[in-house]
């Protein structure tokens, strides 16, 4: 399994750079992962989205549907792509420390 290192941080990731042990996630790791996703700075809105995803994942074990995410954060899908260029599933979820989405999604 590949290891991702950034400064003092060293974590196990899968082949697409998603965390293998999501429970180890913290804000420093989020910033480090953001650097791989074309995110220059984690703004308040970046955190709002990442924390929303994180909370949902801890509660339900999956990422929420994108429509729900947009409705509940008030962010349009376009704005989500502006913040996280790879999009909600590949970009924002990765930074929030979620595992890679699976199934026919």
């Amino acid at each position: 399994m590949p290891t991702f290192t950034y400064g003092d941080i060293s974590i196990e990731v899968d082949e697409d750079g998603f965390m293998q042990e999501p429970e180890q996630w913290n804000e420093e790791i989020a910033k480090a992962l953001a650097s791989t996703e074309g995110v220059e700075e984690m703004t308040e809105d970046h955190w709002k989205l990442a924390n929303y995803l994180r909370d949902y994942y801890l509660k339900f074990g999956i990422a929420p549907m994108i429509r729900k995410l947009c409705k509940e954060t008030g962010f349009s899908l376009k704005y989500v792509y502006e913040m996280y260029p790879s999009g909600p599933a590949k970009g924002a979820c990765k930074v929030a420390g979620l595992p890679k989405p699976t199934g026919c999604v």
């Binding site: 082949e15 339900f60 074990g61 999956i62 929420p64 429509r67 989405p101 699976t102 199934g103 026919c104």
Partner: protein, 536 residues
């Protein structure tokens, strides 16, 4: 080595990459894509390559291991041969032995199959992608190792192939360069099914060597049986999603609909591909609106696996296939429903309605129906009222292979579309002669490494060409909103990815979605504007 020079006897040759897909050889695309420049195929990093054999064509969608020592390689070869022996014996392969043997025995090498195969065509004619090439590698191995005196006479009987680890590792990769669309089987004058051979090769690797794509196995059937769904949706998460779905129906339509769950004795158990819950909730909503307003007695299930119709076992493994379909049958039996209706998922249709026949026996022999047929009855017999002018935009239909070529469900969805879409037009060819979306056999969910590029460039390119040709030059303006109707979650995922790769929403105004969304968009009992032109 150029594509034309690759012979079957070279299949075990020592080389880092037997075949290189060159973007220059790919057929061009029609208007407005004549000058389209493909993105370069991403290079795989050392970390991604480590420990894997990626020597077929450099694309990675199945992690075939590359053992370090010769002894380990020999052990793997022996294991492969043991698996092959089982595959060819009745007691170990009672499910598909007969069609497999017929397909192995009857080929006359006429290559009609190659002409029918979109992968061969759109690769620009790569030898290794001929449906026949894969089958012949397999035939030669069988001939050499399983016929009397095969090894001694190999050179003279056309069984000349070197059975080393590269041969086997490449065969595993080549089994995953086929969409199992079975267009080749349909056209073969001898009835040979190269798709079935590819699928049996996948099965050998999964069941005997434990080699299968992670998306299908560990994160697919195994996860589905463990958590309830290949998406990881647990019964608890499902309830949260459904609460949102109900709110969303109200926001879109003003209707208050309570989605029925686990209603024992309902007429219909509706079973969706769980991908819809996460990526296309409008599909779940549309089914609920139609069924409720038509006054049907129906229910969804919240039991483990009962809310996810997928069965990736169909693509690679009989044991997993049986486990999942058994679970589906048990859920339906427990609820005591009169019939099961399969939502918009092609391979689930095939798994639940036909292949599962040998499991849905006795008390589990519950009638199963395609949602295309259910919808046809409601619309053609005017049990729900529609105003087609609400869908007055160009619409074309994609035929999911499992639903159409494999099962013959062709006309119901067309009768629906003709009632609700005044600008409906066919693709060419269509129906049983359709082309796969390019995501078939699980490829649509393989999002890692460089494999998505392969499915956009090769099989998907055929579908994209067909989509473009379904519209006139004037209609291809980005200002004219167009809809590709794809009543299958897997196809929808692939078409979404294709339209994204080719930037077709921005450049040509092409959007995609399911069938029920168009139905609800036309229903006079629902306020206008259910369908939103927001690409997602």
């Amino acid at each position: 080595m150029s594509s034309k020079d690759i012979k079957i006897k070279d299949f075990g040759k020592k080389t880092d990459k037997l075949y290189n897909l060159d973007l220059k050889n790919l057929p061009g695309l029609p208007y407005p894509y004549e000058n389209w420049q493909d993105s370069p195929i991403p290079e795989l990093s050392e970390i991604k390559r480590k420990g894997k054999n990626i020597t077929l064509d450099g694309f990675l969608n199945i992690a075939v291991p590359e053992p370090e020592t010769e002894e380990e390689k020999e052990a793997m070869v022996a294991k492969f041969l043991e698996g092959l022996r089982k595959l060819l014996s009745r007691e170990n392969n009672w499910t598909f032995l007969k069609p497999l043997l017929l397909s192995l025995d009857n080929c006359v090498k006429c290559n009609t199959c190659s002409e029918a195969c979109p992968i061969f065509e759109m690769s620009g004619g790569a030898e290794i992608y001929r449906p026949l090439f894969r089958s012949d590698v397999f035939r030669r191995i069988i001939k050499k190792h399983f016929s009397p005196g095969g090894k001694l006479t190999a050179k003279f009987t056309g069984a000349d192939i070197d059975l080393n680890w590269d041969t086997i590792a490449r065969l595993a990769q080549l089994a995953y360069r086929c969409n199992l669309c079975r267009r080749c089987a349909q056209t073969c004058p001898m009835g040979v099914d190269n798709g079935l051979i590819a699928r049996e090769i996948r099965k050998l690797f999964s069941q005997e060597l434990n080699i299968a794509p992670a998306e299908l196995h560990g994160e697919g059937t195994v996860k589905q049986l463990d958590t309830g769904s290949s998406t990881g949706i647990s019964p608890v998460a499902l309830m949260d999603l459904m609460e949102f779905v109900e709110e969303d129906i109200t926001d879109r339509t003003g209707l208050n609909i309570k989605i029925p769950f686990d209603k024992a004795g309902a007429d219909i158990l509706l079973i969706h591909n769980a991908g819809e819950f996460l990526s296309w909730p409008e599909n779940i909503e549309a089914f609920a609106i139609i069924f409720e307003l038509a006054g049907l007695s129906w229910t969804l299930s919240s039991e483990m696996v009962g809310y996810d119709s997928v069965n990736y076992g169909l693509f690679y493994d009989d044991v997993q296939l049986a486990k999942v379909t058994l679970r589906h049958a048990e859920v339906a039996k427990k609820l005591g429903v009169k019939k099961v209706v399969v939502g918009e998922c092609g391979h689930a249709h095939k798994a639940i309605m036909t292949i599962g026949d040998r499991i849905w026996l006795g008390e589990c022999n519950i009638p199963r129906e395609s949602s295309m047929v259910t919808l046809e009855d409601l619309i053609v017999n005017e049990k729900i009222m529609v105003d087609p002018l609400r869908n007055d935009f160009p619409v074309t239909l994609h035929d999911p292979c499992n639903l159409t070529r494999s099962m013959g469900v062709i006309e119901p969805q067309r009768r629906v579309l003709k009632k609700i879409c005044p600008q409906f037009r066919e693709m060419t060819p269509h129906g049983v002669n359709n082309y796969c979306c390019g995501g078939g056999s699980g490829f649509a969910i393989m999002q890692s490494n460089n494999f998505p590029n392969w499915r956009y460039l090769v099989p998907g390119r055929k579908k994209f060409e067909q989509i473009l040709k379904a519209f006139t030059r004037e209609e291809l303006s980005p200002d004219v909103h167009k809809y590709v109707c794809a009543p299958c979650s897997n196809c929808k995922g692939q078409i979404r990815d294709l339209l994204t790769y080719y930037d077709a929403w921005e450049r040509a105004g092409i959007m995609y979605g399911g069938l029920v969304e168009l139905v609800v968009n036309a229903m006079t009992d629902v306020r206008e504007g259910f369908h939103e032109w927001d690409f997602h």
